[in-house]
Amino acid sequence: MAGQGTWAVAVTSNEGAPDPVTQRTEARLIVIDAPRTVELERAVHALCGDPVLDHWHTIAAPDAVWIVEVLPHPGVTDAEGDSFALALAQEGFPGVRVRTGKRHALPAATPEPVVRTLAAALCHPVVERATIDAPGAIPGAAWASAFMPAKDAPKHAERVPILGLGPDQLRALSASRLLALPVEDMLAVQSHFAELQRDPTDIELETIAQTWSEHCAHRTFRATIHHHEPGVPETAINGLLKTYIAAATNEIAAPWVLSAFEDNAGVIEFGRDWEISFKVETHNHPSAIEPFGGANTGVGGVVRDVMGVSAEPIANTDILCFGPPTLSAEDLPAGSIHPTEMVAGVVAGIGDYGNKMGIPTVNGAVLFDPGYTANPLVFCGTLGLAPRGRRPRTVVPGDLVVVIGGRAGRDGIHGATFSSEVLDADQVASLGSVVQIGDPIVEKRIADALPIARDLGLYHAITDCGAGGLSSAVGEMASETGADINLDLVPTKYPGLLPWEIWLSEAQERMVLAVPPASWKQFSEVMQTEGVEATAIGTFTGTGRLVVTSCGAPVADLDTTFLHKGAPIRTLHSTWQPPSAAANPPQLADHDATAALLSLLADPVIATKEGIVRRFDHEVQGRTVGKPFVGPLDIGPADAAVLRPVANERGGVALGNGINPRYGELDPYAMALLAIDEALRNVVAVGGDPDRTAILDNFCWGNPNLPDRLGTLVKACQGCHDAAVAFGTPFVSGKDSLFNEYRTPDGETRAIPGTLLISAMSIVPDLARAVSMPLKRAGSVLFLLGATSDDLGGSCYWRQRGVLGTRAPRVDLPTARETFRALHRAMAELEVLACHDLSDGGLAVAAAEMALAAGLGCLLDIDLVPGAAGLPTDAVLFGESPSRFLVEVAPEHAEAFELEMERVPCERIGVVTADSRFRVGRGATVFLDCSVDDLRAAFLTPISAGMGVSA
């Protein structure tokens, strides 16, 4: 029907009912770019669907209704279309291109403006476009334009005149080419090329910009910072990373840490024969503009980090920060996606990647705060398992530079800089795409193939190809040796890519390896067997130069020392002012306690995340011993995940996290202590050994060039150092995502709340002794471990009342460490029936969760709470003092437990009851009394309400 040899098939579900409001019906659209022969049409129809479920037809005539077709922009990854094309090739139709999308029909009587509004809502303009056909219109006008035109591009590099430019001109050049290099960096580049007496090529300039970027080189964390703080002499900090984070790891010097900050992921020992790796990344900006694709490729990226230390991914974790789901449309910042839509997209994106790769998503957190509306945070973490001592990481001159997996395209080129402006569809189409879309099956093939190559010893080094594409991956691997690269050999998705685009493409699902020539044949056979494309694109040389050629001509020739060591150390200024005091709200009258508790249990931050978490497979691989939801009803929120990485090992690994940006608004130093305390509480509560726990830092902050933003970052880093050293928990990996700010219509920029995520991995010495949080039996004793203070500042309870408070809880680090160790000893030596850490919502919420998870009741006397004397009731019930646990112990073990806790704050504060009533009193007076069913109802309500996803 349409011109240029494209035609299409519509596939409709046999059961699909029209939308009750708009009468819209939906079909899948399959567009074929090849002449429609009888044979091809038969082959296409045979692949379209299952006749029990669907029916389909070639679109051969105008429809009498409105048609809205949504197809991906040319160049945007369409994994389904690619699979369709592959299947056709296997059926004897090679070279047929296929794109897939959606075809919506609306009644002819629908007014055109309604059709246009609906079309806009049905399409995400960053990655796809909608075409509207009026009733009776000839179909297919847009089909041909879903394919990348087959045009070629010049293969040569362009010289960029830079010698002799003044600072303003250099600044303008950096801006116009989206290099994101400040003028000091541009001057350094200029003086380097002045020595060489030539101008750089575009590809050289781009390579330097990528290598020196905040993302790749952590310029802020390496900068010299002049820090100002009232009452403290000005200090010069010689790099946050070195001074605080790495320093803590060095001071602790844990012998079981195998790799910290040196590789794509941190690595620790697991038993004698194995090692466990862990990395947590963020993918904030891509998720803000395209939630599905951003989160999807965030997972794909961090999985590659773990494959980059030659490990197999065995678990994922996701921590998500969104704006409030209840945000009204008028409060939504211009250009932002509403939090409910954001949640739905991000959750679908994470599920699509993790589920398809078969990596269980076992742990995470979901936070809601107005500060994240324009800048949502998506933290993706992956745990890896590998045999000990098989982590090759030394490039040898003469090794081949091998790229495996996906093909280069325009995906993600300059994504970070482009994404700071709103793109219109035409702009996106002409760029191909700035947003990456993932194909998890391509990465799964890599995950299947790499362990085979590792175990055969077929490579010398490996790294992930992520931000900056080949320029960054090859550049980094060749930093000691140099390399010669021939861009003509790099596989591309379509013709027409410029040399620098091939070099910088952030196309997904690629890894770069150093393969010795003698192993190349066997290596490529292994890859072929698993369906992984592998291409040698050059050689690691030993010349110390990174030389790139295209069509026989050099397009880049860079000194690797300049590239990796030539970036000027930045000088930044920071200031820190404690926030001004605000009035505290009045003390809660006792009779309100039940309502306050139920309202906390229903708070989006505390209430069950089942509506999200059950979309992720947490059971695949069969390693998940401690599940996200625990207890006989599968509803108890577990403190941490527990994994059995190796079936015949007694031990396991616990995964937990600590994050609470509310504290950061009060005191970022305290926030760091609290986040580490929380992450440790989580893993210790399930049986993790506090002395065998490694942690990861992820900082998401605003613009570090603004002294107030940087001041809070400095305080948080200081807290990270002090807490890590005090707990003896080394940092093994980390990542920062800065510049998370948005501009209001009146030009003001607002930063996200400075957010620190601490992720913990902890060895569980004996899985048979792992502990879960639901109450286990009536009659047992409840101990409260850890001291309670007047710690309502930053609490959930106050936030529900619109108050932040003035003081964040303080962690007594030595007591906290002693508490964790004592609890861990008790778990090893006696029967601890249940344990739950006290966090959001304090004692009352923790006890309620333990009860509702089990269907058992309890009776607590808060006069017995250590430290409660003289505290208001609400502070005891809902205060969030750190380092605390509620522990259930059988009566016959209670004395032994107390003995074990001799040196730490610990009191019997209650008992477990069989009557399914939740009662709290002070002395003889019960002032909080409700049924466990009421608690459960409050906790479970938001599964289907208000989180943008239904159960």
Binding site: G49, D50, K356, I441, G631, N648, L767
Partner: protein, 259 residues
């Protein structure tokens, strides 16, 4: 050493019956399925579908065939579709295999592929009624009519489901009744009152609460929940029997030995 080696608790006996765990790009339960088979007494080999298509004699040399769970080919064009089209190159050999009485088990994505291959009949597996992927533990019961020996010694069992396209859709209004009458409905989703259509006990909205079906002879079984995820201590949640899924793999090995 691979993660499969990490799972291997004891070296398999040399006389153990050979099992093929047939994998495709995107299969992701093949390792734990191979482990379950080895725990049950088989020698399990994970074989790529393209390798089997090139070496069909491998099929003949095996005593049982298992199609594991996952997202073969990304579930593109419908779950199991593209995988089944690759396996279809062995259709004749596969039909002879089934006719010889050797057991064939399809789990989740493998069940979907067996349906597409026509080795199981009576319906199709469509998108969940909820419209999304779902992972949760469910209770299953074997109806009194079920005849497959692959579920011997099982009346009621807890297993996890994890799928987006697990809703059994019958080919005709009387198809479930015909399947039941023929002894082919093997497991049903149940709540306290027996087979149920209600979410979440029936997590997909399956017709007739169908969670597993067999062929008439009983040697081909397709099951939506994952028995291989409940074969080791600690895998089952509180209140459910640890290792209960192993029974199915033991039955498979027993049938393989008898056929």
């Amino acid at each position: 050493m691979t993660v499969l080696d990490a799972f291997a608790i004891a070296p398999p006996r040399t006389d153990a019956p050979r099992a093929i765990v047939l994998r495709a790009p995107g299969s992701n339960c093949d390792r734990e399925t191979a482990l379950a088979l080895e725990l049950a007494g088989a020698t399990a080999e994970r074989i790529h579908v393209e390798h089997l298509v090139e070496h069909p004699n491998l099929l003949e040399a095996s005593r049982m065939l298992v199609l594991p769970g996952g997202f073969s080919f990304g579930d593109h064009l419908g779950a199991g579709t593209l995988w089944a089209r690759r396996i279809a190159h062995l259709q004749d050999a596969l039909e002879r295999y089934v006719a010889s009485g050797r057991p064939v088990l399809g789990i989740c994505n493998g069940f979907q592929a067996l349906m597409k291959l026509g080795l199981l009949e009576g319906g199709a597996l469509g998108p969940n009624e909820s419209g999304h992927f779902e992972c949760r533990w469910v209770w299953l019961e074997k109806p009194a009519t079920a005849t497959t020996p692959l579920l011997a010694d099982i009346d009621r069992i807890a297993l996890p489901v994890a799928n987006g396209e697990g809703r059994f859709v019958a080919t005709a209004p009387d198809a479930v009744a015909r399947l039941t009458g023929g002894g082919m409905v093997a497991l049903q989703y149940v709540d306290a009152n027996g087979p149920t259509a209600a979410y979440p006990a029936n997590p997909n909205g399956s017709e007739g609460a169908v969670a597993a079906i067999s062929n008439r002879a009983g040697n081909v079984l397709g099951i939506m929940p994952h028995p291989e995820r409940n074969v080791l201590p600690g895998q089952a949640p509180q209140g459910r029997e640890d290792g209960a899924g192993l029974t199915i793999f033991r039955n498979l090995v027993r049938m393989a030995g008898a056929s």
